[in-house]
């Protein structure tokens, strides 16, 4: 066991991937000497050289577009998008090319490209640095979308993502980058497309991913003091979605609250609510409720504590669920 921050766990995972496979490349703005603005790629260029850890020009479409070309040549690029709100200049390459080229080739082409996106708020940043754009990508067939929430998962998930032959949008919870935990560097971890029940409970299921998993665990601990037994499911993979874990959990607890930072309206929680309702209709004691951001752009940082779901808003939703 080694104690690592989430950022360092990603760094270790990337390092292992690069050691294991000489075709793995890291590319993006400032990923080389600086080690990325969050230092996730710290030291990699020093050890693997400028041809494998590529500092790119400042243009997101160019990063993804050239990564596609490199993948077509047999490389496995891991692209860093510096902040969530900056992925949109690359959205065309991701949506019209990266996601669809394997299908276009009737399977002849594989595009093992990982797009790493530090996501979410809570760090007091300026506009476009705190967003949760996952729904844009979960809506795009051909992409896999995953979100890590803790150092151990970050370590194995990034390696699994690099090994996967499909393009992957890899969300990293930026306000959890500095959270520390024990990581078993030899353990294989859960498969990339599996959800995990991170806390067992009997009365209600909280469904979260990325930065909100920790918030939900805190809420669950607080609820226990009030005598409520709260289960927490960390989705890990948003596309594909592990409905087996969700169905089993909600069938047992009879209540479900989905928590994410993105706006609730047509957010990823809507998909969970619809699917859980379809699967667990006769077990549900209350409608599936959602807690998330408002139908506003991400606010200036002095207001972000109001925008971001916190322990109290999650507990309030749990109370509302029990009120039915």
């Amino acid at each position: 066991m080694t104690t690592l921050t989430l950022a360092k766990a990603l760094n270790e995972g990337l390092r292992r991937s690069m050691e294991d496979d000489p075709k793995v490349l890291v590319m993006g703005e400032d990923v080389g000497k600086l080690g990325g603005v969050f230092r996730v790629t710290d030291g990699l260029q020093k050890d693997f050289g400028e041809d494998r850890v590529i500092d790119t020009p400042l243009a997101e479409s160019g990063i993804i577009g050239t990564a596609i070309g490199l993948a077509l040549r047999g490389y496995r690029p891991v692209c860093e998008i510096q902040f969530d709100g900056f992925v949109f200049p690359a959205a065309d390459q991701i949506i019209t090319q990266l996601a669809k080229m394997p299908l276009r080739s009737l399977g002849a082409l594989k595009l093992p490209v990982v797009v790493r996106i530090p996501c979410g708020g809570g760090i007091g940043a300026v506009e476009h640095h705190s967003e949760s754009p996952e729904a844009y990508f979960t809506h795009t067939a051909g992409l896999r979308v995953v979100a890590c929430s803790n150092p151990a998962d970050a370590y194995t998930m990034i390696q699994d993502a690099v090994r996967c032959d499909d393009p992957i949008i890899f969300f990293e919870p930026k306000r959890r980058y500095w959270d520390k935990a024990d990581v078993d560097l030899a353990a294989p971890g859960l498969p990339l497309d599996r959800a995990r029940t991170v806390r067992q409970g009997r009365d209600v299921t909280l469904v979260a991913y990325g930065p909100m998993v920790k918030t939900c665990l805190e809420a669950a601990a607080a609820a226990e003091e009030d005598g409520r037994s709260v289960e927490v499911v960390d989705l890990r993979s948003l596309n594909p979605l592990d409905m087996d874990v969700l169905t089993e959990s909600v069938t047992r607890t009879g209540r479900c609250v989905v928590v994410h930072e993105a706006p609730v309206f047509t957010g990823f929680g809507a998909e969970i609510a619809a699917r859980v309702t379809e699967r667990c209709f006769y077990s549900l004691e209350a409608p599936v409720l959602r807690v998330g951001g408002f139908s506003t752009p991400y606010p200036p940082s002095r207001l972000e504590d109001h925008y971001l779901p916190d322990l109290d808003r999650v507990l309030d939703a749990v109370d509302r669920s029990f009120a039915y």
């Binding site: 243009a59 070309g69 019209t96 299908l103 276009r104 080739s105 009737l106 996967c164 499909d166």
Partner: protein
């Protein structure tokens, strides 16, 4: 070009030309090329055959057999000249109009028609031909080509990459980003812009205030303008640019100055935006007629040769037509195939549900 003259009547002075519209061979100090009689006859054959494939495809669209077709009429020399400059190891990234380049890369024309007929969104294996899939979003493939070239560079391979796009694409961010990437990484890539003067109804003046080949200098690599209706010049200029790329001299932008004789696609009506005299002026620059004139004048081919090629074109047209009509619709389950390389639970569930639903009608 004078203000009153139709577009293209006055050829730009910097144009690299090796064969005049009248079929006269001319010398160029930097870009001359030695071609045997057999090679010229072979180029002529390619030009005629791809024009025939194109005409057959337009006819098939008019008869409702293709949803749409993007004609290459008028651009045969740009495509055959550049396409024949490629070695087997070079990789080509096309738009959706590079039927002539596809021909040079031995892609079955029926596969191209299949895309426009709607049986697939691509359909050939790019690695098998070193000819990438058609890209419909304008300019996206320029970045793919540069990335691929960066891979070639890392592999230490003796190969170059060529990417095709039109004049309209030069306005796209991706094309400009690809210029930057190619330049700063010294990528072995050739940008082959077929300036056919029109981006659907938008004339070149809506894309650029300077000649397109001059854009390259702002990015730090050479740009060259070639007579896009001159197959010799296109071959010579592209061959040189590819060789420079392979030798580590980085990218080149080639602007093939040509003209789209047909519509942008069969859905378009060029009579709404361009004048007939422009078309008439460009007819005199036809890429096929000038090679024919050259072959005749120099007694490198006789009437029998031309009749033989025409007969071959007729047979090819018939073959393409019959095989296009025989293309089967894919089975419904094909919707779900190849979306992901690995297993995907949601897709597997949807496939099973839909096929079960369909099977219900068979009982």
């Amino acid at each position: 070009m004078t203000a009153d003259a139709p577009r293209g009547v006055d050829a730009p002075p910097e144009l690299v030309q090796l064969l005049t519209p009248e079929g006269e061979r001319i010398e160029h100090p930097d870009y001359d090329i030695e071609l045997t009689a057999e090679e010229v006859r072979s180029l002529y054959r390619d030009l005629v055959l791809v024009r025939r494939i194109d005409l057959e495809a337009v006819a098939l669209q008019r008869q409702g057999e293709l949803g749409i077709w993007a004609s290459l009429l008028g651009q045969e020399a740009a495509q055959i000249g550049s396409g024949r400059a490629l070695t087997d190891a070079d990789m080509a990234f096309p738009t959706y109009r590079e039927h002539g380049v596809a021909w040079c890369r031995d892609v079955d024309p029926v596969k191209l028609l299949g895309l426009f007929r709607g049986v697939s969104n691509g359909g050939w294996d790019p690695a098998e031909h070193n000819f990438h899939l058609y890209t419909i979003v304008i300019g996206s493939q320029a970045l793919h080509a540069v990335g691929y070239a960066m891979g070639v560079q890392r592999d230490g391979a003796e190969a170059a990459t060529i990417v095709y796009f039109g004049d309209g694409a030069t306005s796209q961010g991706d094309v400009n980003e690809s210029f930057i990437w190619a330049s700063v990484f010294n990528a072995p890539v050739v940008f082959f812009c077929q300036n056919n003067q029109w981006a659907i109804s938008e004339p070149l003046e809506k894309q650029s205030k300077i000649p397109l080949y001059k854009r390259a200098s702002g990015f730090g690599f050479p740009g060259i303008r070639v007579d896009g209706n001159d197959v010799f010049a296109c071959l010579a200029v592209t061959r040189r640019a590819l060789q420079n790329a392979r030798e580590g001299q980085g990218p080149t932008l080639i602007e093939a100055f040509t003209y789209r004789m047909g519509a942008h696609t069969t859905s378009d009506d060029p009579t709404r935006y361009r004048l007939a005299d422009e078309l008439e002026a460009w007819k005199l620059k036809d890429p096929i007629e000038r090679v024919k004139a050259y072959l005749f004048k120099n007694q490198l081919a006789d009437q029998e040769f031309f009749e033989k090629i025409d007969a071959e074109a007729d047979a090819l047209g018939k073959d393409v037509r019959s095989r296009c009509l025989a293309l089967p619709d894919p089975p419904p389950g094909a919707i779900f195939d190849h979306v992901y390389a690995g297993a995907h639970a949601l897709l597997d569930e949807e496939r099973e549900q839909y096929l079960t639903y369909l099977a219900g009608f068979e009982r």
